[in-house]
Symmetry: C3
Subunit: 336 residues, 3 copies
């Protein structure tokens, strides 16, 4: 998923990231960065939050970045002062940001266009990008390097696809939406917010439709993904590594924080916010303007800030409305 | 309003939409799709929600799409399994999406530009579009086919006008705003969200000003309209078929759901949300961050989630703030 | 800060703005517009709200626009019916909107590009704009007249910088963000919202990063400013004359109203709103979805609508959740 063609010996990483190896052959080759639970024998992973200690002990990672207080038994560890910052720099080492390939020509000579695909004036297409058949790119669309678009996609003016974006068949994206911008990831080091390189990409399934001025950030590692048949309204924000299921409805001005997982057939009504790393079970409905602050089981129907079962919410609302009258009554009867 | 130059016989529609005619001459000519209350003798209309039965009985429509359980007396009916889905397909039949006309030239040869109108580099103008005098289109503006712009309009870089957008005189639109993108309309058929074609357009009155990254969707049928003199801040979302009055103020990050009607001189403060199909009476003020969940009479002054009269809201807020203290007091006195 | 090279005699202003001079030499030269507390001996200022009367009495302004009821002692005054509207027109007189300079060439011949700076296809650069070394402007970026970009800036596709925008070194701005659009300022005159000219600009410090579809309005007079090292997520709105400190985090869909001042190291979590003219002290944290309605001292940790100390908010939330159960209990015991 997140492997690059770059490799480092453990001792090189120790030098570059400024740490000390434990239980690790200095010559061991590492070939990528992965989360603890997905790590392979040649993956670097990291333990920044002690609550994931058990995951780190169970991980198959070839090298774990951890702080001096962590006790990871016999696991191969690179002891560093700030594991998250070391992780950020490791991502940068394995995924150096390539220079964009554009030259003078709006369509890079290495791009390939399917039969019947039409490009409006002012469209630019990056290197090695492949467009399916019968795509329509309206004037002023910008597609980066190494993108893949399925057959029959339509992109309206001003849409921007960053490098490595992947669209299924029949995807429609309305004007000025952005796919693949950097996720919002920083780590505070010596009073400065240092950037966590965003080395992933964005993937949209077949028949996804996005409204205007939607933003979908690329993953840190791996994809941010929106499943087939999901329809997204204008001005929705989807953060890095979010996984949206199939046939969902995300109504206007929804904001979804990083790494959220949303099942199939979920509806998030207008202006809903979802906090990071939560899961929303399939077929759930979140009423407009709610804020989801806890994971929700399948088939939930919730409302409010924070979101709770619709019935509870309605009851609390009713109580709140009666409250002033009731407090007045209590006060009169000398209870307050 | 929504008529096309396409016509179908009732029996053709029955075949294409898969239904059975009742009380209707199979040869009757239908020439467009309209809501029940605006339907003409050659209009197709539909009854999807039983609560509009009376409207359907009173409608002058030439053909009403309705489900088998509906009893519409002697009205001409096409009985279908899913009237809303049949309506969506009927819209598509009467309003087939035209191919965009652009070729190599950034300004289509059939476009007409008024005297003194200036186009920056990278501007594209669609077929048959007419720009008034003294317009200024900054670099990278994209105007679609069949648009009409009044005299003295100024569009900043990255603005996108979809086909058929109509602007009055002296309209200013800031960078990267989008007018005329598809409204958010789908109907669930066999587990898939099928698209309701969006066949309308956007209309802005004289002296309207829109901020940056504003989105205004085209109507399903007919226009989404913003009245003369109304000023819209950045990142506001206006859904399909919304009608905003004259001299309104829509502050940043407001979201207005489909078919809402807003009177003249209304102020919606920052981040306000308005639920679908409501009416907000003239000279109303909605405080920032409120959610309008019911229609409001003229001159309303409301706040809160959901929005209620400002005084009630302030009282409820005060009560809520005192609540913890009060509960503690009650508990001490043994009441809880 | 807001001086122009234009000057007017007091009697000329009296004629153009339609008012009467008091305590003022008709030949006095005025050279700009400034707020009361920053006004110089050749500045025009204004008193629209009587609560600032003391400031007006203490001001060193060369001429104060005030209404007939204001008593400003011996201060030099231009008595007008509507001081704010007179101020708006005065801004327009001293800061006439220049015509954009673009011609046929995408890069204006007077623009200067630093060594190693790369421009993608479709980039446009305005007159007299200066780009530092090693900047990367992706396809379809539009930079206006009189901008200044430091070394090593990267602007992604569709970014729009209005005239006079100033970026420090190493600034990164993601796709379709807009800097320098007009602030949202109008004054109601005879039933119409007349525009207050927006004569300022936008300034970003070194190492600022902005996400996609962010909007930052230019100041009315002087700059809207975002301090060095501050990181801004997608779809954030920053209104005119906001001053954001250094090393802040503004998470997605935050909206900041006009003239707000934010200290260093402040975090505004997702969807937070901040009302106009407030101050948020350094190192404050505002939880997601909160609305800041009062100024906050340094080191605040707040939540809720309106935002209050996190502990109070949590207590009120808990009380609200218990409320229905408790009301039921009280009702049973015959108290309601």
């Amino acid at each position: 998923m997140a492997e690059s063609r770059i490799e480092f010996r453990a001792e090189e990483l120790a030098e570059r990231l400024g740490g000390e190896l434990r239980n690790c052959d200095p010559g061991k080759l590492l070939r990528g960065v992965r989360p603890l639970e997905e790590a392979l024998a040649d993956s670097v992973s990291f333990l920044a939050n002690p609550k994931y200690g058990a995951k780190a002990l169970a991980s198959g990672a070839g090298l774990i970045l951890a702080d001096p207080r962590s006790d990871l038994g016999g696991q191969p560890v690179l002891v560093v002062a700030n594991p998250y910052w070391a992780f950020a720099r490791a991502v940068g080492l394995f995924h150096p940001e390539p220079e964009p390939a554009w030259g003078e020509a709006p369509v890079h000579p290495s791009a390939r266009l399917g039969e019947g695909t039409r490009l409006g004036p002012g469209v630019t297409i990056g290197a090695r990008t492949v467009l399916g058949a019968r795509c329509v790119l309206h004037p002023g669309v910008h597609v980066g390097d190494d993108c893949v678009l399925g057959d029959g996609c339509e992109l309206f003016s001003g849409v921007v696809l960053y490098r490595r974006t992947r669209l299924g068949r029949g995807v429609r994206i309305h004007a000025n939406s952005v796919l693949g911008s950097d996720g919002y990831g920083y780590v505070l080091v010596d009073g400065r917010h240092e950037k966590v390189p965003q080395a992933g990409w964005v993937e949209l399934g077949d028949d996804v439709e996005l409204g205007a001025c939607v933003t979908v950030d690329r993953g840190v590692l791996g994809p941010t993904r929106i499943g087939a048949g999901t329809k997204v309204d204008n001005q929705v924000q989807v953060a890095h590594n979010v996984q949206v299921g199939e046939h969902c409805l995300l109504v206007s001005q929804v904001g979804i924080s990083g790494s959220v997982k949303i099942g199939d057939y979920v509806t998030l009504a207008g202006k809903v916010g979802v906090a990071g790393h939560l899961e929303i079970g399939a077929r759930s409905i979140v009423s407009g303007n709610s804020v989801v602050a806890k994971s929700l089981p399948e088939g939930s129907f919730v409302a409010g800030i924070p979101a709770r079962p619709h019935r509870e919410w309605a009851e609390a609302q009713a109580a709140l409305n009666r409250l002033p009258r009731w407090i007045r009554a209590q006060r009169k009867s000398g209870k307050d």
